[in-house]
Symmetry: C2
Subunit: 564 residues, 2 copies
Amino acid sequence: MRLAYITASHSHPSHFTVLVRAIPWSQEESYGVKVAKFFTDYYSSSYLSHQMIYHSGAVQKLMTDAEKIYNMLKSNSMDQHYGSRLLRCGFCGGTSTSFKILSPEPENGRTTSCLDSPDLREKECGVALVFFRTRYAALVASEGLQQPNPMSWVTDLAPEPSDIYWSNLYVPYRIFWIRKIAILVAFILFVTFFLIPVVFTQSLVHLDKVEKIFPFMKDITERRFMKQLITGYLPSVILMIFLSIVPPIMMVFSTLEGSISRSGRKRSTCIKVLYFVIWNVFFANILTEAAIDHYQDSIMKLGDPKTIPNQLAKAVPSTATFFVTYVLTSGWASLSCELIQPFPLLYNSFYRFILRNKDDSSYGSYTFPYHTEVPRVLLFGLLGFTCSVLAPLILPFLLVYFFLAYLVYRNQILDVYVTKYQSGGLYWPIIHNTTIFSLVLTQIIALGVFGIKRSPIASSFTIPLIICTLLFHEYCRQRFHPVFKKTPAKTIIDMDREDEHSGRMEEIYQKLPSAYFQINSESRSLGKSLELNCPEIQANSRETGNISRLEDLETPGKMSARLP
Amino acid sequence: MRLAYITASHSHPSHFTVLVRAIPWSQEESYGVKVAKFFTDYYSSSYLSHQMIYHSGAVQKLMTDAEKIYNMLKSNSMDQHYGSRLLRCGFCGGTSTSFKILSPEPENGRTTSCLDSPDLREKECGVALVFFRTRYAALVASEGLQQPNPMSWVTDLAPEPSDIYWSNLYVPYRIFWIRKIAILVAFILFVTFFLIPVVFTQSLVHLDKVEKIFPFMKDITERRFMKQLITGYLPSVILMIFLSIVPPIMMVFSTLEGSISRSGRKRSTCIKVLYFVIWNVFFANILTEAAIDHYQDSIMKLGDPKTIPNQLAKAVPSTATFFVTYVLTSGWASLSCELIQPFPLLYNSFYRFILRNKDDSSYGSYTFPYHTEVPRVLLFGLLGFTCSVLAPLILPFLLVYFFLAYLVYRNQILDVYVTKYQSGGLYWPIIHNTTIFSLVLTQIIALGVFGIKRSPIASSFTIPLIICTLLFHEYCRQRFHPVFKKTPAKTIIDMDREDEHSGRMEEIYQKLPSAYFQINSESRSLGKSLELNCPEIQANSRETGNISRLEDLETPGKMSARLP
C-alpha cells in the first residue's frame, strides 16, 4: 500500500525536491551561489533550479502581527470568497465558504522594496530547496552522502509543501545532534518522574491495602459513597488529567528535536507518547500492583528475570478492574469528546459571541491528531491482548470501543479534519511493532499462567510460539521495512518515464519552482495579500516560472535559478 | 585517512562493480538475461557489462582434488618461476621465488567442452557482478533500493577481487536473515557457557578462599611449589588454552552469517571476539572475584545499579594480580609466538621433511589475523585504563607490551604477512568505540573509588567527565562515522573526472571484465592450468576484453555483455 501511495502521488513536487541543510558558510560567496555551483558541478545533468530559505526575522514577525490585527478589524467589511477548501464542520464554526482573502491594499509599506534589498545575504540561512529534473535524480541526491564532512551539505527528500516545518529550517543543523541527546535525557526524566501520579492512582484502587500501610486513611474512606468514588472512578480521572498534558509536552520535545516536516514531528511525538503510555499506564500500574500486593517481601524479586512471567501473570488479572474502568473513561469518553470537540467548540463560541468576531480565517483547521489517537488505540490493543488470557471480561468493552472508534474516526477523518499532508503510511511500522510486542507479552503472560497452574506441557508449547512470533516479526522487518525507509529505484524510474512519455514533465517543471512558499501558517493570509500587492512579482512569476513568490517578498531579491 | 585511502585506490575494479544478489528466478529467462535486461533498462547510461556467478559443483570439486594430487606428484619435476610475490619468511618455508605454475597439460579432460555446455543455466546461482561506467553510478546503484521487494535484487558495492568470499555467494540470499538470528543465539549461548572455565580459572587464583568453601582442596595445596604453580601461573595458561579455540569458532559463526568479503568476515569475527574477550576475560573475572569475596551476602546486591561503581572499585584492584599475570602470559608470550610462528613452522617442517614435499605452492600465505590481534590489543588497553586508577602496577608491564607489540606487528605486517586485500580503515570505528568504552568504565570506577573514600567533591567532578566523554563520542559518531558507511559523492565524482580527463577510463574498462575470477583459494592453480590449456578462450579474452576466464572454463559459455 505504501508503494501504491508513492505511485499514485504523481504530481507531488516533493518527489523532485531535495532539502539541503548545513551549507557551509564562506566569506566570498553567498549560500545561494554556493548551492548553484555545487549542484551545477556535481549534478549537472539533472539539476533544475533552487530556492534559498531565509530567516523569518523580527521585521516579518511585527508585520505578521500587524496584519493579524488588521485582519480582525477588517473582517466584517469583506466577504470575498477564495477557493473552496474542506474545512471543519459548521457546528464548530468553519464552513467551506468562509475562507477569505484580503483585498488589495496599497498602503502596505513593504511592497516598494520588493526586489532590491542590501541585507539579502545576511538573511539566508544555509538551507535550500533544490529542484531536480527527475524523481530518480532527487532520490539519488537525497540518499547519498554528498561531502567528506557528513555534517555539511546534508540532503533529505523534501516534505510536501504544506508539510514542511519552516521554523526548524532556520535553526543551524549542527546543534540538532546535541538537542536530540538533551531531548532523550529530558524524555527519560519525564517518564521517570511521571511515575509519581501513576503510583498514586493505582494506590487509590487498592484502598484497603493502602489503609493497612497508612492507617490515617481510614477516616476518609469510612463513608461508602466516598470509597466507591475513590476506588472506582477517581483513579482513572486523575490519570486522564495527567495524561492529557503529555502529548503537548511530547510535541514540544519533538519540535526541538529538529524534524523538518510536520508529519515527521507528529510521528516522532506519536512514538514518544506510545512509549510513555505503555510504560506509565501499563507497566507502572502492573508494577505498582505487584509492589503493593507483596510490599513486604518481593520487591527484591521483581528484578529477577525468571519470575517476570509469573509476576506478570499474577499482577495482570488484579489490575484488570482498573483497566476496564480505564477503557470506559479514556476510551469511550475520548470518543464522545472527539465527536463533540469541546475545546474548539468553546474556543469558537468565545471567539464568536464574546469577541463578536465573525471572520473564521484565523480559526485554524486541524489535522488529525495521530500523536494522541494512535497511541491510545494501540494501548487498548495491548490491554486487550494481555488481559485476554486471564481477565477476558475486558474484551466486550474493547470490542464496543473499537466498533465505535471505527465509526467515529472514519467520520472525523472524512468530514471534520483537514488533510493538509499525507503521512504516507509511515505509521504502519509503529503499529506493527507495537502489535507484535503486545502479542509477545501476551504469550509471556500465558507462559507465567501455565507456570502458576503447574502445567509444564502447556508452558513448553508456549515457548515455540514466542519464537515463531519473533521470527515472523524479523521476517516482516526484512521483507517490508526497507520500503518505509528508502524508495525503490524501479518504482521511481517508472514514474519518471510515464510522465516523460505523456509529456507531463514540462507542466511539472513549470509548477515546481512556485510550489514551496516560505510561510508559517499564521502568515499565510499575509502572503496572499502581499502577492496581490506586488504585480511586478506576479508578472515575473508567470513569465519565467521562477521562484519569486512569498520568499522574494519577505526577503526581497530574485533567486538564482537555472531554467530548463 | 579513510577518505585518503579511497582517493588513493585509483585502479581498484571494485569501485566500478556492484554485486547483485537474490535475482528472482523465472521459468522463461535465465538469470543472465534478466540481469542484462534490468540494468540495460534502468541504468542504461552507465551499465557496462556483467558477469554471472556459477555454482562450484561436485564435478569441479573432484577436478580440484585430482589437480592437487597431480600437483604433489609433479612438483619435483618442475621448476618454472611465476612472477614474484611477497611470501612468508624463508624460515617458515616459503620464498619469493618458490611459487610455481603447472606446465601446459593437454590431457585435461574438460578443455574440449570449453565454450558449450547444456547445463549452463542450471549452474547460475542468482548472483551477478555488474560493471558500471563510472564509480559514481556503481555507488548509486549499490546504495539504493532497487525493487519494491527488498529481498530481491540486493545490491552492494563489490569487494576487491581477492577479497570476495565466493562460497557465501552460492548460498541463497533469503536464508541469511534466519542464519544471522541463529548465529546471534549461538553466540550468546557460547559466551554464557564459556563462563564455566573462566570461573574455574578465577577460583584457582583465590585458592585460600576456595579452600574455605571446599575443604578437600587442602590436601593438594599443602606443597608450596604446587600452590605457587596453581595460584600464579596455571589460571592464565588454562584461560589461554580455552581462549585459543574462540577465534576459529567465531570465524565459523561469521562465515555462516553470510559476509560477501573476507575482510568483512574477519571484521565481524573481530567484533565477536572483542565482545567475548571483554565479557569473559574482564567482566567475568571481576564478577567472580566479587562473588568469591562476598559469597555469603552480596550476590543479590550485584545487580543493584547504584552499587555497581563501588563493586567495580572493590573488585578491580583485587583482580589486578591476575591481570598482570595475564598480560605476561597472554601479551608477552603471544608476541614471541607471533615472531616464531610455531604452528606454521611445525606444519611446514612436517610437510617438508616427513612428507618429503619440496613444492611450496600449497602452503597458504596468511593475511594478518586482525580477528585475534585487534581484540587482544584492545583488551590490554581496557586493562590499562581500568587498572590505572587503583592498581597502576600493571602499567609498566603494559608499556613494555605495547612497545614490543609495535615493533613486532610492524615487522610482521611489513615482511611476513601477505596483504591480499585492504581493510580500508574499517577497523577504526571498532577501536574508537572500545577505547571510549574503556574510558567511561575507568571514570565509573573512579567514581566508585571516590565514593568508597568518602570524597563527595571528587565524585561529583567525575560525573561531568563521564558526560563529556559520552558527548565527545556522540560528536565523533556524527562527524566521522557516516564516512565509514557511505562513500561521499563528491570524492567519487572527482575521481571519475580525473580518470576521464587523463584518459585512464578506457584502460580501466579493458581490465574490468577480467578482474574477478570465480575461484577458491585452493583451485587457483587449477585456474591457471586450465587457462593455459584453452587457447581459444585466451584469444577471445584478448580480443574482446570480455568476461571469459575461469568462470567460463568452469561452467563453459560466454557471458552476455554490453561492451563500451
